[in-house]
Symmetry: C2
Subunit: 144 residues, 2 copies
DNA sequence: CAGTTTTGGGACAACAGAGTCCTTTTTCTA
DNA sequence: TAGAAAAAGGACTCTGTTGTCCCAAAACTG
């Protein structure tokens, strides 16, 4: 599994935020029921994204969360890195510490290429683009 | 993390087997100390690979395990699939069940491309090729 | 045949990720 | 000002992965 459940939920929620009312604070409760994700668990994920700076939060009635920047300026990679950490795009596939150009593992070269391709792809996708196509083509963000 | 620890260990061990004496049975104990992997844990991994058919085992003194086929006929992808299961190369990145061309998630297209690229790469790498370059370039399979 | 060396496999401990629940803090509204 | 609504955050449970240990089965060696 490439992405942890936490990250899968986080990405789905960020895409949802990019499709729904861009500038309004949206309550975690409403997002959790729209996406069928445990409310309490989603709360934790949003707390991390808020601390990381990708979200703004506001307490009290009509409070909630919203993207801290325009969706056109947030890439998928940023969201993934915010949750999984930057190691995902630097680590050795075989888990060997210090694996790099100078002390490579047998898969270093191959994996570096594949991983960089993936990183480029994720950098090329903004929440805005994904959100738009999600709305336009009615793509799904939940199980059902 | 793309690969579980179990799979990382398994791949390292399979590459090791491809470099070391191709036709002799090698004891798990010697592999575990060569690669600095817990003996008991490695035993479990080899048991799975044996059941799966990638390894042959033999008990008793001078027993051990060896590749069931020439290293030139085992691809990296096979090893990964044997341990992680085929879902790794079919699953939705966002974890949505039934995600596919007909009911795609917003990342379906992008992810399909990236995942298929990766699968092709892993299919193109045989244990023989990796083993040879490991020996030739003295690449590392352990922490140290 | 007895003892030793090896893999096979079950049971268990330790740990991390996933998920739940409860209390506190902030903010709004009546 | 009192109550309600929302996020913040701590404590906890559950579950799967990782890792350890022990005993059984197979095969060899004296």
């Amino acid at each position: 599994m490439l992405l942890s459940k936490t990250c899968q939920y986080g990405v789905r929620a960020m895409i949802y935020l990019a499709t729904d009312s861009p500038d309004k604070y949206v309550s975690v409760r409403s997002i959790s029921s729209a996406l069928d994700i445990s409310f309490h668990f989603l709360t934790k994920i949003f707390q991390r994204l808020t601390r990381y700076g990708l979200l703004l939060s506001y307490r009290g009635p009509n409070g909630g969360i919203k993207l801290s920047r325009p969706a056109s300026q947030i890439t998928l990679k940023e969201v993934v890195v915010a949750i999984e950490g930057p190691e995902l795009f630097t680590e050795c596939v075989l888990g060997l510490p210090g694996c790099g150009a100078d002390r490579p593992c047998p898969l270093h070269h191959t994996w570096t290429i594949a991983r960089d391709d993936l990183a480029r792809m994720l950098e090329g996708e903004t929440l805005d683009q994904i959100g738009s196509s999600t709305v336009r083509e009615r793509l799904r963000l939940r199980h059902r």
